[in-house]
Symmetry: C2
Subunit: 200 residues, 2 copies
């Protein structure tokens, strides 16, 4: 390829073998995409952090208690909510660790490895985050609606504040899923633009 | 491809406008990846189809019935199981529709658009499939374990066959999620190889 480049140069052609080559101004667009990537990553980080905190601190103690009625509710009472907090913490940690790589690809636009690494790990983080958000959503749904067929009673009429906070924490989590889908899509588009630019 | 390279050498030109150019034998590897893509797609299709059928046909009628005990269980009794069947059907339909595009990219290895299209839609299908599998898994968990804190009783001691089939249907669904993660990863790797090959 080095040979290709010198040949091309000698014939007065575009040095297509050079490290950065975007004949149609692709370099600027690539850099723009990396900035969007970093911003979205910070947004997703904040969303997962908020979700974990809101669910983790959601608790309610009823002013009364009988033998049959539960008088205190925390996220640890339901394994799905524990999973939700765990998953959001892991996703938040990953997103924080991914920031340096996102900044690195902003500086080294031509490098493929950071973008590929981020795309693959983003996909895994997205799967994990979707699983966490979905199981928590299903429990929140059952907590509000109950299910008469299997005799699961709704408990949100009693634990209204706990249920409200639990459902609020879903917003950040599903928001993070959307942002991660967007991040994966952006990475894929950036890669395809690179191929199109280098090919054309 | 061999011809392209030799032509370039003999004519002292780089066939930069040519459609396929993988100086280091990237073409064969690219084609290999497209075959793996097609096979995995068929596997995921079968997995989602089986999951939808197994869950959709799971039903159990108890030999006895009282006023307080439910005597029949079908997937429609729980909204999460309905969502699971719906999501698996949608994913199955999408995977079927994606087969022609997968075959097309096998024929036209150099074309970027089909790979990008598949990557983006695979990501969405993966998010949907993960959500469906997760909500069904959370209900299956609760059906087996129950939850004493919120007074949700396990009903799998009665509906053992229904619960067994429900949990079996999860295997295909989570399998499909794994295959979709693999498909996205493969597409990303194929794209990065293309960049590396054209750049170096």
């Amino acid at each position: 390829m080095e040979m290709d480049q010198s040949k091309a140069k000698s014939e007065g052609e575009v040095p297509l073998g050079s490290k950065i080559r975007y004949p149609f101004g692709g370099g600027g667009a690539q850099r723009g995409l990396t900035i969007v990537d970093l911003v979205l990553r910070v947004v997703a980080l904040m969303a997962t952090l908020c979700s974990a905190i809101v669910m983790g601190t959601a608790h309610q103690t009823l002013p009364f208690s009988t033998q049959s009625t539960q008088f205190k509710a925390v996220y640890k009472d339901l394994p799905m909510f524990m999973f939700f907090v765990l998953v959001n913490s892991v996703a938040c940690g990953y997103l924080f660790l991914s920031l340096p790589l996102s900044i690195f690809q902003m500086v080294k636009v031509a490098s493929v490895t950071p973008r590929l690494t981020l795309l693959i790990f983003d996909t895994m983080a997205m799967a994990l985050e979707t699983a966490g958000a979905s199981v928590a959503a299903s429990v929140v749904y059952l907590a509000y609606q109950g299910n008469t067929v299997v005799n699961w009673a709704s408990f949100c009429s009693q634990f209204d504040s706990f249920c409200r906070r639990s459902s609020q924490s879903l917003i950040g989590s599903f928001g993070a899923v959307l942002v991660l889908v967007l991040l994966i899509t952006l990475s894929a588009i950036a890669m395809s633009r690179r191929i199109t630019n280098t090919q054309s």
